[in-house]
Amino acid sequence: MTSWGKSTSPGAGEPDPSTSPGTGEVASLSGPERALSRGARNHRRTHRLLAGAAAVLAIAALAAGDRTAPAVSATGGARVDIAALARTVEAEEDHVTALELAAWIRERKPGLRVVDVRGAEDFAEFHLPNAENLTLAEVARAPFNPDETVVLYSEGGTHAAQGWFFLRARGIGHVYFLRGGLYEWMTEVVNPTLSADATPAQRAEFARTAELSRYFGGVPRIGGSAPTRVDDPAAELPGRSSEDGGGTTAAVRRVRQRGC
């Protein structure tokens, strides 16, 4: 048995014939070593084959692109588990609130993708930080990685909810939408309002909300009556009716006037 203390096995600090097959050394090798060197040349051919196979598979991967729609057929149909989706909606796991989204953006949640499904002009006028602009048709086709968290938003939330359905139908799990749309963002994040008759618990909550709001260049407000429910986009935004027609455009104008 070879002495392992001063190992003479292959590769132990000496040239390893099986991994360094310099063909120029053949003449200086003994019989058994020459046999090993021939083996090494065979090895080289195998290695070249493996490297070639890897390169081919990698290039083919680039050509093939990613799998886009596991549940969508060539004609665009989809198999959908409606019962499961209904359960998700009832459990309120389909949407996020504006404050939740704001917190995710601020803490730089890894893999977060905020998608604005409005038109390009609206997007150019104002959009959430780091948001991407995709139409609903593009959302239906776009590739999303399994470890990404997608949040869709629109002006009032309806289109975003439709986009949510498309992505869920495609089998993409981590997708949410901003239920109240940009309306909710404006009232909850940019201009959160604490009503005059708030409870201490609400005041404590508001302190946190106010801090988050300021991060986004918002202006928390105190006073006025209790704010209207924001999941009713038809409702007038509190404190706005006296100023102008309300709505996102006006809110955007006010935000931009502050220069954020």
Binding site: M1, T2, W4, K6, T19, G39, T46, H47
Partner: protein
């Protein structure tokens, strides 16, 4: 008698156990592809990759729990490795048991079994064992901090393109190269 003769007597039916000359090692690329296929099989069969240091943590945790169960349960770093059914129901512990068997089988077939203390020519067995134990201790700490080792983070996380795993690969290799001069006399 020599170790070779002793082994040959002890396992008479096992001819390949000891050879006059050990087989040369396989091509590292081929072995690597084989290893990659094993890793892929893990992903496909059980939705997870391979690992090693976690098995050590499980065994250590089980040991602590056997001696001081309340203390073990109270320490989150230990408690996270206390699985129901003990270490023998832990995926990584069973996998490492397999590694031991597989390593033995390969060495047996190639005639590479043998009691020895691998070391360079300038260092004695005792010193080598001390370095090995100390190095193991340091690796244990590093692996716990990094949530894995070369098997769990470098191989598995690397193949999954996880950013933290590649950070681990980079710093581990860099530190090993940087520290290599300190241990040169252990090896050369």
């Amino acid at each position: 008698m020599s170790a070779a003769e002793a082994t040959a007597l002890a396992v008479p039916a096992v001819r390949p156990a000891v050879r006059a000359e050990a087989l040369p090692y396989a091509s590292p690329y081929l072995a690597g592809v084989g290893l990659g296929l094993v890793l892929l099989a893990a992903f496909a069969l059980v939705g997870r990759g391979l690992g090693a240091s976690g098995a050590f943590s499980s065994v250590a945790a089980a040991g602590v729990s056997a001696v001081a169960p309340a203390h073990a349960a109270a320490n989150p770093a230990t408690a996270e490795y206390l699985g129901a059914g003990g270490p023998l129901r832990d995926w990584l512990v069973i996998e490492i048991a397999g590694v031991v068997l597989g390593g033995f089988a390969s060495a047996w077939l190639a005639g590479r079994l043998g009691s020895a203390v691998e070391r360079g020519p300038r260092v004695g067995a005792g010193a080598r064992l001390a370095y090995a134990g100390g190095g193991g201790l340091v690796m244990g700490i590093g692996a716990r901090l990094a949530r894995g080792c070369t098997s769990g983070q470098a191989l598995t996380g690397g193949a999954l393109l996880s950013v933290g795993s590649w950070i681990f690969i980079a710093t581990a290799f860099a530190a090993a190269y940087a520290a290599a001069p300190l241990f040169r006399r252990e090896w050369t």
